[in-house]
């Protein structure tokens, strides 16, 4: 195989492993559903695999991949007009906003903003938030686990969300 063109099997694996999560976040941001997003990203990689022999590994791969994920995501939204993803069944109170166009840099930035915002939370607040979001514990379970009142759990969760809201602004 000409080394200037095309991706070898091992190059492809490296690409897959380094780009997978970024692409997944990109897709989830559009479609709001984990399973659908995983399928979209897999399809985009399959499509790339089929073209691996003709593609310039240095330049085109990433933009090709992200364009492919974006188009597939938008197609998915067009074909599945209901907009209440299983990721968060948060319909009801206000209509979901329409999908905004984002690029992979914005997505990487968003991810950085979120990590920074979480780091900025006071320790106790972060711990409560972590138990709720990562350990999937209910407020009462968190209160029992940390030996604090459920009221304190509520306050800390509210604080965490307010901080996230102040840091993560939709542009």
């Amino acid at each position: 195989m000409n080394p200037e063109h095309g991706l070898s099997r091992s190059q492809f694996e490296i690409l897959f492993r380094t780009e997978y999560k970024g692409m997944l976040l990109f897709a989830i941001h559009y479609v709001k559903e984990e399973e659908a997003a995983k399928e979209i990203v897999q399809e985009a990689f399959i499509n790339l695999w089929e073209k691996r022999e003709s593609i310039n590994p240095e330049r085109e791969v990433k933009s090709y991949l992200s364009a492919s994920v974006r188009n597939r995501s938008l197609n998915y939204l067009r074909d599945n007009k209901r907009f209440n993803g299983t990721l968060l069944s948060l319909g009801g109170l206000l209509p979901m906003p329409a999908a905004e166009e984002v690029n992979t840099i914005e997505i990487r930035e968003l991810s950085g903003q979120i990590h920074r915002a979480i780091e900025e939370l006071p320790e106790k607040c972060r711990e409560v938030f972590r138990l709720n979001r990562f350990e999937q514990m209910k407020y009462q379970e968190i209160a029992d686990h940390l030996n604090i009142s459920i009221k304190t759990v509520e306050t800390q969760m509210s604080k965490a969300l307010s901080h996230l809201r102040s840091r993560i602004r939709q542009t």
Binding site: Q11, I14, Y20, L87, L93, E106, E109, I168
Partner: protein
């Protein structure tokens, strides 16, 4: 009203964490539909919560599993793992297969090693972040940077080559050391600022989401990363806003653009809503108007390095307004001015 706000912020968090009862969801729903401000609080909370969930779910995704699923789908077989391979493994392994495996190992290892080598060749990149307050630092060329809270600058340990390139996310004031033969370049998403010994204010993510730059002295060129030939030149006292793919240059009318750095604020017949916005920014506070008719009040005053508390006292005394400061929220209330 403020009590309300705290209650509903708590309820919003409970709603998203699926702790709210149906009755509470009903209550939240009518609060959200009560007025646009409430709807905005809810909408912003939802955006932040969902963005967090997106990042969380992505972080938990299993790349190994995804790779296995991908291989199954496209039919890549790894010979060592295939059924035939394991049946044959008791036999002597033919020489060509040993060679193949060694070659494969070299290819896979060689790639990361190559990148690591290239990476080590480059000067180390330093990162300086302001955290929750202001922070200042000197760059390797002697240029001075003051960052506002939340801003991050990345720069090489040493400026090698023909340019001095740094990247910025957030709000900062630069005083760049003069070196005509080595232009100083600030990179943000897609936008480049090229500097020739100068001082200026820059904000890569202003409240409106636009990129902003105000030039104090010297000369600055501004261009898009992908159109380096089409640069716009800024003169002192001018302000550039990058909105989408447009660069808009106008005289700077915001007297307080540097107040976050100097804590010197002057208002000249300024409407109260814009006063609140300036104070929020300068003091990293959340200053809001209790009702929109207050925006008709105007303030003329100068403050030099005063605490938020004393600025608020001046507002109270001059405008006949009430101010409640709970720490996280400063609410100005009153009837408004004529």
């Amino acid at each position: 009203m403020e009590k309300d706000r705290i209650y509903f912020e708590g309820l919003i968090a409970r709603y998203f964490s699926k702790e709210a009862t149906p009755a509470e969801i009903g209550e939240l729903s009518s609060w959200v539909n009560e007025n646009p401000e409430n709807a905005a609080v809810f909408g912003e909370s939802r955006y932040a919560w969902m963005a967090f969930e997106e990042v969380r779910i992505t972080g938990l995704a299993d790349v190994d599993e995804a790779w296995e699923a991908f291989k199954d789908k496209v039919g890549i077989r790894e010979e060592t793992r295939s059924a035939i391979g394991s049946q044959q493994s008791k036999r002597a392994i033919p020489m060509y297969r040993i060679l193949l495996r060694i070659a494969a190992v070299i290819v896979i290892l060689a790639f990361p090693a190559f990148h690591l080598y290239k990476y080590l060749q480059q000067p180390a990149i330093k990162e300086f972040a302001a955290g929750t307050g202001r922070a200042e630092t000197l760059l390797p060329d002697g240029s001075h940077v003051m960052l506002n809270s939340g801003a991050v600058i990345k720069y090489p340990e040493k400026f090698k080559g023909k340019k001095r390139a740094v990247s910025l996310d957030g709000e900062a004031y630069f005083d760049v050391a003069h070196n005509a033969s080595k232009p100083f370049i600030i990179a943000t998403d897609g936008i480049r600022v090229e500097v020739k010994g100068t001082s200026f204010y820059i904000n890569t993510r202003s409240w409106s989401g636009d990129f902003e730059l105000v030039l104090t002295s010297g000369k600055v060129e501004l261009y898009f990363e992908n159109q380096p030939g089409q640069s716009r030149v800024l003169n002192p006292g001018e302000k550039a806003i990058v909105h989408g793919n447009q660069i808009i240059i106008s005289p700077n009318t915001d007297a307080n653009y540097m107040a976050w750095k100097t804590h010197k604020i002057s208002f000249n017949n300024e409407p109260l809503n814009s006063v609140a916005a300036t104070l929020s920014k300068v003091y990293q506070a959340n200053v809001r108007l209790g009702n929109s008719s207050l925006a008709s009040c105007r303030l003329t005053a100068t403050f030099d390095n005063q605490s938020l508390e004393s600025v608020l006292n001046v507002l109270k005394a001059t405008l006949d307004v009430d101010i409640r400061n709970s720490g996280s929220l400063v609410e100005i209330s009153g009837k408004g001015c004529r």
